[in-house]
């Protein structure tokens, strides 16, 4: 589904790569959390999957396509197979809920009939059945994110990318969003979610990929937000300049930003 092979991404004017030599594979139907501090490369990872950026080195396959060989004019058609959700929702303020979702289908040329069938369906699925005529500013944050999710999945994408979808929401609302994402995942959609929310990750017990300084620190099935197995810790951290083992173990319940090596 998504295959990274020794991918390095370096931005201009910055010698330290945003992603360094990352190799991993995400399979169909998986639910994957991408965790790590700000600047650890999560967003770069998502942008590479979307082909908003090209890797400096290495190859990326998404949905069986080698993104390096995908010509620019075919990128839009490739993206129709991906859905994206952001922390800040990115809805169009002057359009209603219905029109926000319908816009996606309009611009890729779907028929009016299809739109009038698909949009109410997907609004019902995300729990906004009665709010099609509302405008975004009339909705709560959780509802706005549901609109954004509806927009992302209305075209039935194979992969849903979520960049901190609960970042602006309170825990209760976040739980509702996660339940929705889980339901979408059960429907067969692969979900790749970047997050800072330790509670969610610990509770969901899904695959966790931890990035730090552009490298994969950990790739664990049914993992938590922080590493719990000490062997992997030692193995991964050995080449780090300072000894992180001690603070890591202690910081079981501590927020990541409070970790000494990552607070900036």
């Amino acid at each position: 589904m998504i295959l990274f092979d020794q991918v390095t991404k370096t931005y201009k004017g910055n010698n330290r790569p945003a992603l360094g030599d990352v190799s991993l594979e995400i399979l169909r139907g998986e639910f994957v959390f991408l965790v790590g501090a700000s600047g650890s490369g999560k967003s770069s990872f998502l942008r590479l999957v979307l082909k908003e950026e090209n890797p400096t080195r290495g190859t990326i396959h998404v949905l069986g396509q080698n993104l390096g060989r995908l010509p620019a004019r075919k990128v839009p058609y490739f993206r129709r197979n991906l859905g994206v959700v952001f922390q800040d929702f990115r809805l169009l303020p002057q359009k209603t809920v219905f029109d926000n979702v319908a816009f996606t289908l309009q611009v890729i040329g779907k028929s009016k009939g299809f739109i009038h069938e698909a949009v109410p369906d997907v609004l019902k699925m995300v729990g906004l059945a009665g709010k099609a005529a509302r405008f975004p500013h009339e909705l709560s944050g959780g509802e706005q994110q549901r609109v954004a999710i509806a927009r992302a999945i209305v075209n039935k994408p194979a992969i849903l990318l979520a960049d901190e979808p609960t970042g602006n929401l309170d825990p209760a609302t976040s739980a509702g969003i996660m339940a929705l994402l889980e339901r979408i995942n059960l429907g067969g959609t692969t979900i790749l979610m970047a997050t800072h929310d330790a509670g969610i990750v610990d509770k969901m017990k899904r695959r966790v990929i931890e990035l730090s300084g552009g490298r994969i620190m950990r790739d664990e099935r049914q993992g938590g937000y922080l590493t719990q197995t000490i062997e992997i810790q030692h193995q991964q951290v050995r080449d780090a300049p300072d000894d992180r083992t001690v603070p890591r173990i202690q910081s079981h319940l501590v927020q990541p930003t409070q970790r000494p090596e990552e607070s900036e």
Partner: protein
């Protein structure tokens, strides 16, 4: 569905930066009017050249009793000398170049003179003052040098003159005017192109959310850029239509109504020519706007 969507986007773009759209319309209007004027001037030159060059002949003026220059020595050309010229015109190499020629004697010259300038101006002109002339029409007016070279200095010939030379200053002036118009037009067109590009950038910036989402959900580049290009093209087309109207009005009221009111033999461009210029202006406006809008919007489409 999609066409309606695109057109409603264009309408939104127009409403959103109406002042920029108006300035685009005005700048295109003025620049294309200059382009139209330049084209009309060129047409006028072409028409005058065609008209006059058909009629322009090479005149071989013969000596009279009153001319002392060019070896005439105040002596009328003799019959032998005239026969010599005639013979030259009838034999190679000159005969091949000549369409036809005719001889004009003193009385005919005087009659033509009277006709051209009227009794009054001719009161002190006697037929003998006017030289006898061979009027030579060439097959190709460009070949006049050969005949001038051949016959200048022949005994009894005062001067060999290509009438086209008399017209040259007029054509030079018209050409200078048309080059000036073209120069101004080019400058104005550059301004128009830059203004269109800026307008489209502004328009795209005010719709960057939509563009971002369109790109995210996989709208094709063609779909994203079409409303913007149409916006630029439409604004430029409105300007082009106005300039077309201005060109037609100039020809109708100024050239036909004012210049043509003075009786004269000079042919002027007419409405038919002006209507020929209008589609050229429309095409220039549309193409330039499309190109500059497409270049301006490209930055927002980079994947």
């Amino acid at each position: 569905m999609r066409l309606g969507l695109i057109l409603s986007e264009v309408g939104q773009g127009f409403r959103r930066n109406i002042s920029m759209v108006i300035s685009v319309i005005l700048v295109t209007f003025i620049s294309l009017t200059f382009v139209g004027a330049a084209i009309l001037l060129q047409m006028q030159i072409g028409q005058m050249k065609g008209y006059w060059f058909d009629r322009a002949q090479v005149a071989v003026y013969l000596c009279t009793d009153f001319v002392d220059a060019n070896g005439c020595a105040l002596t009328e050309a003799t019959t032998d000398q005239k026969r010599n010229i005639e013979q030259q015109l009838e034999t190679e190499p000159l005969a091949g170049l000549i369409n036809h020629w005719e001889f004009e004697n003193h009385d005919q010259a005087y009659a033509n003179y009277l006709e051209q300038f009227g009794e009054e101006a001719s009161s002190f002109v006697e037929p003998e003052f006017l030289p006898e002339t061979f009027w030579v029409s060439l097959k190709d007016p460009e070949q006049s040098a050969a005949i001038i070279e051949r016959l200048t200095g022949e005994p009894g010939v005062e001067e060999v003159l290509d009438q086209r030379q008399l017209l040259q200053p007029i054509f030079d002036a018209l050409a200078a005017a048309s080059y000036t118009a073209i120069g101004i037009a080019v400058l104005m067109l550059v301004a128009a192109v830059l203004l269109i590009a800026t307008t489209i950038r502004l328009s795209a910036f005010s719709r960057r959310r939509e563009i971002g989402i369109m790109r995210l959900v996989g709208a094709s580049n063609r779909f994203i850029q079409t409303p913007f290009i149409l916006e630029g093209v439409l604004a430029a087309l409105i300007g082009a239509v106005l300039s077309g109207g201005a060109v037609v009005a100039i020809v109708h009221f100024f050239v036909q109504g004012y210049l043509n009111a003075v009786p004269g033999t000079t042919p002027y461009v007419d409405l038919g020519d002006a209507l020929l210029v209008v589609p050229i202006l429309l095409a220039i406006g549309a193409v330039l706007a499309a190109i500059s809008a497409a270049v301006a919007i490209r930055r927002y489409l980079r994947v």
